[in-house]
């Protein structure tokens, strides 16, 4: 009876694992096969990897999209981390009734779906375009500005700041550090793990963002990776091997971060819920 139950459990977990991994396996294998082999259902690695790569470079602006996505994700992450941690710290360390009220108002923004913001934001940036073109529509600044601050990230840093020992602050003040100096020289280095987790969520959401870049970007040379993949996927005569290779390449950076920083990664995904 007990053995049967064990077999049942392992079978169930085995199937769940297979289902979870199969699309990855198929994606990687298909990236090395020709389109014809992919449609024929080939499940073994092939020899078309370099041909697919050549084709991908030739038919799309892959490198540009890769550069654009990286640039946007890195800039967004750096800015988001600095200003959100500063705010999370500010809300907690210089706590006051008025600030708590502001904080609660900020939290309400988490209920607003992006779909609801898309139209007014589009119109806002269209207006900006008329005056300052480099930060209006079809610019990377227009992608970064509205997405870099989330109430969630401020909340995340505020929660972590609760654990930050206050005596260190006083010690810093005794040493004659300014308030900003304390934040930069003492708080930031102490909270490395919090920053790592926050960096992962922010980087990932920027790297994977689709809807807003889709609305903002018009020029092919300003495309990000999700836009490139989506375009490839909706083409009339899709080359499956090439598309799968593009997806592998777009997934690789996040996969690398995941396997190197698994602990922080999971902590970041779970945010402040502990």
């Amino acid at each position: 009876m007990k053995i049967l139950k064990q077999i049942g459990i392992y079978t169930f977990l085995g199937i769940a694992t297979m289902i979870s991994i199969f699309p990855f396996f198929w994606m990687v294998v298909s990236a090395t096969n020709s389109s014809v082999d992919v449609t024929a259902g080939r499940l073994l690695p092939g020899t078309y990897l370099f041909e697919n790569f050549g084709q991908l470079l030739e038919s799309t602006e892959l490198l540009t999209a890769f550069y654009n996505s990286s640039k946007i994700a890195v800039v967004t992450t750096l800015l988001a981390l600095f200003i959100s941690s500063l705010a999370g710290y500010g809300f907690e360390v210089y706590r006051s009734k008025a600030k708590d009220l502001v904080f609660n108002i900020l939290l309400a923004s988490m209920m607003i779906p992006f779909a609801a913001l898309m139209v007014p934001l589009f119109r806002m940036f269209a207006t900006v375009s008329n005056h300052v073109p480099f930060m209006g529509l079809d610019s990377h600044i227009a992608i970064i500005l509205p997405t870099m601050t989330t109430a969630f990230l401020i909340f995340f840093f505020r929660q972590s700041t609760k654990m930050f020992p206050r005596d260190i602050l006083e010690a810093g003040r005794m040493d004659g550090l300014s308030e900003l100096g304390i934040f930069i020289k003492i708080y930031m280095p102490t909270m490395k793990t919090t920053y790592a987790a926050a960096a992962i969520i922010t980087f990932m959401s920027s790297w994977n963002n689709y809807l807003w870049p889709l609305v903002v970007i018009q020029s092919p040379n300003k495309q990000t990776l999700p836009l490139l993949i989506s375009n490839l996927g909706s083409s009339y005569a899709p080359d499956y091997g090439v598309i799968m290779l593009a997806i592998v390449l777009a997934t690789l950076p996040v996969a690398i971060i995941f396997f190197i920083l698994q602990k922080h990664f999971v902590a970041g995904m779970m945010g402040s819920v502990k």
């Binding site: 200003i83 210089y94 923004s109 209920m111 898309m118 601050t149 790297w207 899709p238 996040v254 698994q262």
Partner: protein, 288 residues
């Protein structure tokens, strides 16, 4: 000193507060003003609440709402139950390969929505690998219309979302389960409670807050569903997989732009999110 620090505090929070007001609250005010206007492109005229009346007569909107709620009602409970079950199984201390199973089931979360949607589109295509495999082992003789049959297309979407998010939710439950005192289960076993009974009488009540949290996030996520639909089915066949977010996008950027009405539909989503979140809080928060 006190006054100075009070000012420093406001300085520290000023930039993000400003950004959130500019990029969240101000647009919502704009969207409301916009929802009272109608017309093509930037040729708008004031129409009062006409757009809100139009909502209830708009069959495409009603289809989009029905589809979105179909996903919500089927997918969210399915995923939460599956995630709970997996987390309970993976929480057994004597299970071999726990780390491996956990990592494997979590892995779908690292993919971007566009990436996994595109993979699923081809997995379940007419000549996709799923059909090929099913035909190879002779379960079917004709390819299944995963993406072109209205009902099956919705089902495929549900499967795809479940694939992407089950591991994510599972991680939350696993971490909550680690804080549950094991002796409760020992006591229940002595009292003769079966595994199923333990699951429903101990595990679920203990995890209630986290289940509430995940169901609210999943609900908000489902109401915003966009990337998957656009990249798997494009909303079709017909409008049978169209979601509300996609409808807003289409109204603004695909059809002749009707920003006023699109803003009205936006408000419909916001209202739905608020109502559903309140309901979930009321239902789950009653006893705690």
């Amino acid at each position: 000193m006190k006054v100075k620090n009070e000012l420093v505090g406001w300085g520290f929070i000023s930039i993000p507060v400003l950004l959130i007001f500019v990029f969240y609250f101000y647009p919502m005010v704009q969207a409301f003003l916009l929802s009272l206007q109608s017309g093509m492109g930037s040729n708008l005229s004031f129409v009062g609440f006409d757009n809100y009346v139009r909502l209830f007569q708009d069959t495409t909107f009603i289809t989009a709402v029905t589809n979105t709620f179909t996903y919500l009602i089927i997918q969210v409970p399915l995923m939460i139950l599956l995630a709970l079950l997996l987390s309970v199984l993976l929480n057994q201390k004597d299970l071999k390969g726990r780390g491996f199973f956990r990592t494997a089931i979590f892995l779908p979360c690292i993919t971007s929505l566009v990436a996994y949607a595109t993979i699923f589109k081809y997995l379940f295509g007419h000549t996709g690998i799923i059909n090929v495999l099913l035909m190879d082992i002779s379960i079917i003789t004709e390819p299944i219309q995963w993406l072109t049959d209205p009902l099956l297309a919705r089902f495929t979407i549900v499967m795809a979302i479940t694939w992407r998010w089950t591991g994510y939710n599972m991680i939350f439950y696993l971490s909550a389960l680690q804080n549950v005192d094991h002796s409760i289960y020992e006591a229940a076993k002595i009292d003769g409670a079966t595994a199923t009974k333990q699951f429903f009488k101990i595990t679920i009540p203990m995890l209630k807050p986290i289940i509430l949290f995940t169901s609210i996030t999943s609900t908000i996520g489902t109401l915003q569903l966009f990337d998957e639909i656009v990249n798997i089915t494009g909303g079709g066949p017909g409008n049978s997989t169209l979601t509300i977010s996609q409808y807003i996008y289409n109204l603004s950027f695909k059809y002749t732009p009707d920003f006023g009405y699109a803003a009205t539909v936006s408000y419909a989503i916001v209202v739905m999110i608020i109502i559903l979140s309140v309901i979930q809080f009321k239902v789950a928060g009653d006893k705690s």
